[in-house]
């Protein structure tokens, strides 16, 4: 019943639909998603990049979070969450259908647009929402292709769809006109949120969000993630690459440096509950604390200081990326430029 392979999700969908199967087509990768078919017809789709029916209804204030949760509690096991909402008078059939239809096409875009992704078909699986709409899979596939084309006509750069949304600090022209959805996106882009985060936060469908972002990118209002030629990768990539690299190495370094640390670190998780633990703690506490805090932020800093002591000149130049400010990058760029002048 289960097929797992790397393939074009849309092709597998048409295959299972042709065989009038029932189940879930689960698409891996980024962002991935799942398309649910009932006897060969698409009944729902979901993706992390597209708010689902629940998010759309609660984020807009149409349903109270509690109402939605109740329907989930009651109807999930029997796959009739959608029907319950209508039966209990929280939603009209029309609203439910329009909402499910919109959410399905929206998520289907993210699940089915990759040309290649790990795909798995879970035969017999159904969605807890229950069958609300029944869509021809060929229509879904056609629409996915059309939406892909539409995006490329606006601004042919798919990086916009997944990268963290960063508005340019200074617009490239004197006067700019924004639509209301574009304003919403820019106001909520805090330098951390991806398009998917913004869609979830605002209760807006995922595809129109990406559409607006591509329009903003076309206007030059978004900073695009840098793709650097291999000879100058340092300025932008260093801070990130270092962070992850050091995180991975750190446990190894510690194990070599002092065997006591891993031993205590191993004891620690159990320690807070035990009375005798505080006694052995005092000696190595500072190390321990850096270890505990460092799981997120500190280890990279510590690890940078060590090589910094050995190679003062070079690392003094490189150390600033620890606090990744643009100033350091700028300084370095200016230095390189000056050197080139000589």
């Amino acid at each position: 019943m289960t097929t797992s392979k790397t393939a074009a999700p849309a092709r597998l969908l048409s295959q299972v639909a042709g065989e009038r199967q029932t189940g879930a087509l689960v698409v891996g990768g980024h962002p991935g998603g799942a398309v649910y078919v009932l006897e060969g017809r698409v009944i729902y789709a979901e993706s992390p990049a597209a708010p689902g029916v629940g998010e759309l209804l609660t984020a807009s204030g149409r349903l109270a979070g509690r109402t939605w949760q109740n329907a989930l509690d009651l109807g999930t096991s029997t796959a009739r969450v959608g029907r319950l909402l209508v039966e209990h008078g929280h939603l009209t059939q029309g609203e439910l259908e329009l909402c499910v239809l919109g959410a399905t096409y929206d998520a289907a875009y993210f699940a089915l647009s990759p040309a290649n992704a790990p795909v798995e078909f879970l035969g017999g699986a159904t969605h807890w929402l229950g069958p609300v709409v029944h869509i021809d899979p060929a229509a879904v596939a056609r629409e996915v292709r059309r939406r892909t084309k539409l995006l490329d006509e606006i601004f042919p750069d798919p990086r916009v769809d997944t990268a963290i949304v960063t508005p340019v600090p200074r617009p490239p022209r004197e006067r700019i006109t924004l639509t209301a959805p574009q304003w919403e996106l820019l106001v909520h882009a805090d330098g951390q949120r991806t398009p998917a985060d913004l869609a979830q936060l605002l209760g807006r469908a995922g595809y129109p969000t990406i559409q607006e972002l591509r329009r903003l990118a076309a206007l030059g209002l978004l900073e695009l993630p840098e793709v650097r030629p291999p000879d100058v990768p340092e300025f932008v990539r260093l801070p990130r690459a270092r962070g992850t690299a050091v995180d991975v190495r750190r446990p190894q370094i510690r194990a070599e440096d002092s065997p006591t640390v891993p031993v205590i670190a191993g004891v620690r998780p159990a320690a807070p509950g035990r009375p005798p633990a505080p006694a052995p703690a005092p000696g190595p506490v500072p190390i321990e604390e850096t270890g505990a805090n460092g799981t997120v932020y500190r280890p990279p800093r510590l690890a940078r200081r060590k090589p910094g002591a050995k190679l003062p000149k070079e690392v003094a130049g490189e150390a600033p990326p620890a606090a990744p400010g643009t100033d350091e990058v700028l300084l370095k760029r200016i230095r390189t430029a000056l050197r080139a002048l000589r």
Binding site: L57, S60, G94, E95, C99, L150, Y207
Partner: protein
């Protein structure tokens, strides 16, 4: 069809120009092209004209395009959640009545959402 003189109708997602549902005829017998055109017109009215934003919350309600042979009516479907749909009705100019059609469309849109 509940609207006298209606030749065809569709519900269109105006962000993508996708015909969610169609019935009857479409201009040039092409519902998809009609839907794409519908979406363009709504987008233009919504984002590129000054009529819509004269007052706060003065939102676009409907658009009427008149040709020698017909009326093309576009009415936005207002839902509380994010849906971005527009109802499009193509009306025969001699058999149709614009006022009746507008009222019927309003009822139809409400019925779509509230029933």
């Amino acid at each position: 069809m509940a609207i006298p003189g209606a030749v065809g109708a569709s519900i269109v997602d105006y962000t993508t120009g996708f015909p969610v549902a169609t019935t009857g005829a479409a201009p040039n017998s092409d519902h998809e092209a009609a839907a794409a055109g519908t979406a363009d017109v709504v987008q233009a009215a919504n984002s590129r004209s000054l009529f819509v934003s004269a007052l706060p919350h003065d939102l676009l309600e409907d658009l009427i395009i008149t040709t020698a042979g017909g009326y093309h009516l576009l009415r936005l479907v207002q839902t509380e959640f994010d849906s971005r749909l527009v109802l499009y009705v193509w009306l025969d100019r001699t058999r149709g009545n614009l006022a009746v059609a507008r009222r019927r469309m309003q009822t139809l849109v409400n019925g779509l959402v509230f029933h």
